[in-house]
């Protein structure tokens, strides 16, 4: 339902832009502000996020750490969206953990979520104690993004790399059998 509203607002917004191009731009700005306000971010520190990295259900969890300022992250994001679309009914859950700066939430992150109509669940991690939490995510991670974790209740793999859709599908396949 939430997404429906978003989509409506988005469509409405873009129609307005087309119809009224060149006319009063403050009206467009108001519509955009409404759109952005409609995106609710779930923001966590690492303690709060940790449960999403350790869910003991029957699903395969694909957790991608990204940010709008990270070009390789943005490039591979559609593959995670594609995975979500094709596998969400096959017991796979995609989680996109944004590391955007708090000051950029309204300026960059929310517009990005709207613009790309992200369907996977997006969480935001805001925790400056990086030297504490980065090694907790994985002992071999030095903090460069993107990175991805795929896990289920039996096993877990950490990927310090970018993915193509095919690579992602192969890795997830190893967890599905």
């Amino acid at each position: 339902m939430k997404y429906m509203i978003l989509v409506c607002l988005l469509t409405f917004g873009s129609c307005k832009n087309e119809v009224k191009s060149g006319s009063d731009s403050s009206e467009t700005a108001v519509v955009e502000a409404v759109n952005i306000a409609s995106v609710e971010l779930e923001i966590y520190d690492f303690n709060g996020l940790e449960k999403f990295l350790n869910q003991e259900d029957d699903k395969v969890h694909v957790v991608n750490f990204w940010a709008t300022w990270c070009a390789p992250c943005v490039k591979e994001l559609p593959h995670f969206e594609e995975l979500n679309k094709n596998y969400k009914l096959k017991n796979v859950e995609v989680l996109l953990v944004s590391l955007d700066f708090p000051k950029q939430y309204d300026k960059k992150l929310k517009p990005f979520i709207l613009e790309h109509n992200l369907q996977s669940k997006v969480l935001v991690l805001d925790d400056v104690a990086m030297n504490t939490w980065v090694p907790k995510v994985n002992k071999d991670w030095d903090g460069a993004i993107p990175v991805t974790i795929i896990y289920n209740k039996d096993k877990r793999q950490f990927y310090n790399q970018s993915f193509t859709y095919e690579e992602l599908e192969i890795e997830v396949g190893k967890f599905l059998n």
């Binding site: 300022w69 700066f101 400056v128 990086m130 903090g143 460069a144 993004i145």
Partner: protein, 208 residues
């Protein structure tokens, strides 16, 4: 004779490429604490070529892999300048190296580097790893990524690898200044307590 020459050239090329391939995989993981870091000869924003060996009086170096385009690197610019102001006179100058491939990140090209350095008033060399051969040897993976080197008889020994401090957001809220603690320890002849730290950064853009 001509054929012979070209065969020799080809053979040489093959040998060379095999050699570089080996070097690459060997260095993939980069330096650990205690390793001797390589010197380099990289172009500075003023057009000069800069090497660590040029700094006859240095006791060591704060080598910072950084760039214009990474928001974390940008947030640390003032703190990198402050490090140089505090430690260059004590024998530990900052040497900044821009490691990104500039066709992938045009915002990091030499002209952009010059402009950024001028507008921020960089007090230290801002070098470009144009061939992208130095950062892999160090094992830098992201910007900013700091290596504190101590000059010894056997060479420039890596004494600290990691972040500048523990709060990227706000310099005023920093609890631990990792780089300062490392350099202070080296200046005092004591042990560096925290030798490796981790932080989120922008992955270095390789050519591929």
């Amino acid at each position: 004779m001509k054929y012979f020459k070209s065969i020799t050239v080809i053979a040489l090329l093959i040998m060379l490429s095999a050699f570089t391939a080996n070097t690459k995989s060997f260095d993939e993981k980069g330096y650990d604490i205690g390793d001797v870091a390589t010197d380099f000869k990289l172009e500075n924003i003023d057009g000069d070529m800069v090497s660590l060996a040029d700094y006859k009086n240095a006791k060591g170096f704060i080598v910072v892999f950084t760039c214009n385009t990474c928001p974390y690197a940008v947030r640390y610019e003032d703190r990198i300048i402050a490090l140089d102001k505090k430690y260059a006179s004590k024998g530990y100058p900052v040497i900044a190296i821009m490691p990104n491939n500039t066709s992938k990140k045009p915002g990091d090209n030499m002209n952009a580097m010059k402009a950024r350095a001028a507008s921020k008033g960089f007090t230290f060399p801002y070098l470009i790893d144009a061939e992208q051969t130095i950062y892999p040897q160090y094992g830098a993976t992201k910007t900013p990524h700091v290596y504190v080197l101590e000059k010894t008889k056997k060479g420039n020994v890596v004494q600290y690898i990691g972040a500048i401090d523990d709060n990227y957001k706000d310099a005023a809220l920093v609890n631990t200044k990792y780089v300062e603690m490392a350099v202070d320890a080296l200046l005092n002849g004591t042990k560096v307590e925290e030798t490796k730290t981790r932080a989120i950064g922008c992955s270095i853009k390789a050519k591929k």
